[in-house]
Each structure stands twice: as C-alpha cells, then as structure tokens.
Symmetry: none
Subunit: 415 residues, 2 copies
Amino acid sequence: MKAEIITIGDEILIGQTIDTNSAWIANQLNLIGIDITKITSISDKKEEIIKALNNAKQIVDLVLITGGLGPTDDDITKKTLAEYFNTKLVQNTEVLHHIEQFVIKRKALMNERNIRQADVPENCTIIHNEIGTAPGMWFNQHGKTIISMPGVPFEMKRMMENSIIPELEKKRDSVHIIHKVILTQGWPESKLAEYLEEWEGQLPKVISLAYLPSPGIIKLRLTAKGENKAQLEELIDQETKKLEKIIPQLICGYDAEKLEEIIGNLLKERKENLSTAESCTGGNIAHLITSVPGSSDYFLGGTVAYDNSIKQNILRVTKSNIDNYGAVSKHVVEEMAVGVRELFKTDYAVATSGIAGPTGGTEDKPVGLTWIAVCSASQVISRKFVFGDHRGRNIQRASVTALNMLRKLILDQEM
Amino acid sequence: MKAEIITIGDEILIGQTIDTNSAWIANQLNLIGIDITKITSISDKKEEIIKALNNAKQIVDLVLITGGLGPTDDDITKKTLAEYFNTKLVQNTEVLHHIEQFVIKRKALMNERNIRQADVPENCTIIHNEIGTAPGMWFNQHGKTIISMPGVPFEMKRMMENSIIPELEKKRDSVHIIHKVILTQGWPESKLAEYLEEWEGQLPKVISLAYLPSPGIIKLRLTAKGENKAQLEELIDQETKKLEKIIPQLICGYDAEKLEEIIGNLLKERKENLSTAESCTGGNIAHLITSVPGSSDYFLGGTVAYDNSIKQNILRVTKSNIDNYGAVSKHVVEEMAVGVRELFKTDYAVATSGIAGPTGGTEDKPVGLTWIAVCSASQVISRKFVFGDHRGRNIQRASVTALNMLRKLILDQEM
C-alpha cells in the first residue's frame, strides 16, 4: 500500500516548527509494510488543503493528515474536510462527553470553542483522542482512505498506536514484513559498517539492513519481506544470532527497548535499586530513568552536582582530588559514584563528569571529554570518553553511554 | 516572492531522518521576505524529481532543492537536473581543484567518485561548497530560479548564508514580513483564545495571529505583511503592547526565547544562583537548565528526591509532614524547596512533587496532581496543579510551570 503524509500548519512553512511527526509516522507505517511516497507541508488555507488532497488521491491509497484541528480560528482542517467530502459538521455526543470530562479534570469551564471541537463531519469515523480534545477523523471514499489527526505529537502518536495502526494492519496485503532491530552502543557508524561488511554481504536476498544512528546508539534494522512468515522469522533469527557472535560487546538491546527500560527490568527482577550523581549530564540520566513508568520501584534519586562545592559538600568528593586532578577526572567521578551510592544507600550508582561545551575546554581537557563511573557494593568501574563539540549531543551520548555501563555492571553481578 | 522547498532522499520517507533543513531554510527566507508556500519530500527517483519540479514551477518563482548530490549511485539529483534543463554534464576545473584539495587535507586518495563530483550541468552557475565536495547549482529559466544544494545540514547552511541568501536579497520584491512571538504560560489554548477574541477581532488587516501550543507553553505568533517596514514594526509593537495589558500575568517571554534561557539571563544579570529539588519531574528541570550553555555560572546543582527516604535524609523534609500530608503536598514541597536552598546555599530553589502517572493515583490524589514550590531568602511560594494522565507530558508541563514560577519569583525580588 502506498501513502502520502500531509502536514498542515503555517508554523512549519515559516520554519518555526520542525516537522517531526512525518518521520515518526513514516517509520511506523514502514513497519507494517506501507510505503510513503511523498511528504507535503502546506499552510492553513482551504484551497491548499484541497489541492494537496486532490494531488495525493491520484497517486496513493492512503493519505495521513496532521495539524489544523485546534480550537482556534486558524485551524480549518475539519471544516475543509467536511466541505471536501460534501458533508456537514454535526455534534458528536461521545466526543462532547469526552471533552467535558477532559475540561472538568483540569478544573476549567467548558467554553464555546470546546463545544465546537465536538462538531465532526457526518460521514467520517471518529478516532478517539485519549489525551486531547480534538478527535481524529477517518474517511473512506472510492477505495481511498483519508485520516486526519491533531498535530500535537503526543496526541497523534497515541491515536496512531492505539487506533490507526491496528486498523491499517488489517487492510494490508499478503506480503509479510518482519523487522528486527539490534541496538548497539560504543562504536561510530562508519567503524561498525566496515566491521560488518562481510556479514552484510552474505545476507539472504529477502533481508535488507539499515543503520539508524542517534546520539550514543546505532540501531541495526533487519527487514525481511516475503510471503512465508515462518521462513522469514527463521532467517531473521539466524542473522541476529550471527550478529550476536560478531559484535557481542556492542549489543545492548533489541527492537523498541530503551536502555533505561532494560535497566529498570533488570533492577526489578533483582529487587535492587539505583542512584545517580551527575555533573555534565545535568540531570538527564535521572530524567531518562524516571521517564519510565514505575521507576520509583528502583530509582531512589540522585544529585546533580554541577558546582564543585556540591561535589564536595554533598557527595564527599575530596578537595585534594579536585585540586590535583580537576573535576573532570577518574578520581573525582569515582568518588562521586561511590559517594552517592553510600549517601543514598543504593545497590548501584552511576556518575558523570565532563565538559559538555561549547566552551570550557582546554588543550589538556577538550570539549567533549567525559569521565563516567558506575559502582556496586563490590566494584567501581570508570571510563574516559571524548565525544564531540555539540552540547546537546554530548549530554545525550554521555547519558546513553553511562546507562550502558550500568547495564553491563548489573549483568556482571551475581544474582 | 514565493518559494517551494523540495527535499530529496529516501531516508526522509522511511522516517530515518527528520527533515530539519526545511525549517531552517524557511526561517532564513522568511527573514528576507520570501514566503514558503509548500515543502515537499520525495524519493531519489528521476520521475519524482521531475514531477515535483514541474508542479513547483507552476506556482512559485523560486525552488530550493536539497539532497541527492552525494557520491554514491543512489544520488541522482545532478543528472536529473541536467536532463531537466536540457544540458549535459561537463567537468569544472575549479570544482575539481577544490575537491582535490579537500581530499588531500583528509589524507585520502582521489577516486573515480570524487572526480565525477566535479561534473556539473553546463548551463548552471556553480555555488561553492566550502566545507564539502558536492557543489551547489543555480539555474535560471523563464524567470524562475531553481537552486540545488547538498542535504548535509552544515554544507547547505554555509552555502545559504555565504552565497544564496546574499544573491536572493538583491532580487526580492518590496514586501516585508515581520514576526513577533509572545510566549504564554498558565492557560490552555481554548481559554486563552476565548479571552483574546475581542483583541484578535480588532487586529489590523495586515496582521495575522496563530496559536502554537506545546506542553506547558502556548505561543502567540503575530505576522505583519506589507510594503512599509517601519509601519509594520510599529503596528506589531502596538498589538504586542495591547496584549501585555490584557494578559500580563501569562506572558513569559518573546520570540525564540526559552524559559530556561530567560531564567539564566536573569540570574547572570543579578549574579545570583539556583538549586533544584525534584520528585515527579525526576531531573528534567535540572536537565532543561543545564541544556543552556554557560549554566554552570548560576546553577549549582540539584537533588532528585524520588524516594521519601531521600526527601527526609538529604533534604530534611520532616517525617511527620510526609506521614500527615503525604509526599505530594504543600507542606512537603515547600520543605523540599527550602531544604535544597539551605543545603546547596543558593539564592533561589525550586521543588516539585506530584503523581506523574500513568499509575499511582488515588481518588484524593489523582494522576496529574502536582505541587510546585519556589523560594528565595525571604519568600516561599507554592501552588497546586492538576495536569493530565500522560506521564511524559505531565513531566514536561510540571517542569515548564515550575520554571515560570521561578522566573516570576526572581523578577519579584529587588535587585
């Protein structure tokens, strides 16, 4: 099946918002065998929306629209779709009830605009918006499917995952597409690609490989396409096992797993817990860990020790070590990890100290230099890294690298 | 002048790459009064490129293309453009010389692919690629301008800044476009829109308004278009001032400013500093603050007090308050703020305690309930909020709301 994504909103065309929705949608549809042939961003203008829809319908079977469903006057997607599909807007009582509940929960009052959000085109199927007030809309016409979703990423993603993808999966044709994602941590893409060249060369024809790089993690995605599902699964399994023999030290997870989830599951299984002491990552490791629901079961807390005074006074890092070796050093990062573990009385701790940049580097200690330590009751392990010169990226790479060191340390301990 | 951006590359259509180039280009062109009417992402296929060019040329005067100029076989933009403009590729000695210098600098050897990069369509003007090997191309035909650039963001940006924008500025017509963005915090979009209806109704015709919502912040964007730049600026200024009188309590910043940057600037100006004590936001406030370069000047550090033991043992929250009122309460969040401020010896502190969800709520204390406190030497202010039931969004809304309370507290103190 072929699809086009249309994003509606002036904020994209004036460069105020980067369109992240399209990449996410494209990726999700790809996983269920739907190809995106085009992504189009247009403004909140009726004639532009109609023109884009007409163009898309000539080429694809499925059109996914995001944006323009808000309660304000510049949001005209719903009105335009009703006109396009030759129908009128009618109040939907279920949607109205949901909006009322939503507004009450926020201790606000229903207003005219809220009520108008419950008006929907008469001939569409409503897609429930669990976490927002603007409903999604699903239209079928002459064998084509047109789906309209809010532009707010959270709301759009929830709708896709819970309602749209399950429906689309039922419609797709008999070709099976199977994906397996292998998460690697530690090597840059070019080094990894060179090392895996021979393995890649011998992949069966039905399997393709893609490298998906992000700061700190390179994902390898194997995709098998064909009619015999069991055979494809078997092939993917074989190739995954080969990879596990070639780069065992680099593999840190599979599929949609995140390192912070993997660590969470390990700790829950072992009934153990964790604390953090962060300098250069500035709270990002704690943020990643606590973004996982239920993390309060195993994460007691952490210290962001940005200033040296906090390293000394709270974490008990010795002044002489800071004076002799500097805050970004093996000695200090190890003391931070050990210090927070003792202070917070946890089984494990992780600590970071580095120069995130863009300034603050010296010849000896350049921007990107980062020390990371992890510790348990019996072990302290620290490593030095030199990342790049982009602050946000350095913080992300240091965080992911620290989480992976922690994962290895936990796996290394006897249960 | 009207323009369209065409990005070429399968990596965008399969969701592997987020198209950040288009937003950057759109923003730059907007500043010199060029409107983007459409952004189109297509695959590396000859017929797709030609179709997209034909469509764009019917509507706009200027087409900017990125991508498909690399040295590998899937890069076909240059060949396609030569065909499209009915010309042939010829070797350009200047480009070849530049590529040679470039390759030598990297201690590599020239290969067949490098040499082919110096072949360019005979009838175009070459745009020098200072930091890469693929030259840009500028075509003029029947009053239309078509510009092709590499997809690598660094290379594209340098080309735009040094060569393309200066040229376009000479050509542009007399219409000016002026934007002003007003950041608001505290009210949902629908409430804000209703409250501002009257003001919106009286806006001069040359000014348009857009609402740009994100978790915790609603941006109002005013856009003025016309020939008289000074007059437009005056009008935008007048409307901004009116808004400042209508919703003074909601405005927290302007244009591309972020709350964490605004706070950083305030603290630097006052030579004051800050610490954090986070429960439900789990380190995200510290992460936002430390994402700003130079934040070590005013951010000493923070505590993520996820477990009650940390609240008691580190932040000195009294056990009786936790027992009597619960961890998510006015008493506890105020003690957290005061506790971390004293412990870290800072001028200000901010603290959060809430139920981020998706589980952990009770009838009395539902998911989304959040207490936030800010304090200085002379004041402690706390407020209760009920956000939604999405964990990630609750964390983000609580963080942004906390930062805004902090901003107000700082502004409230005498300098």
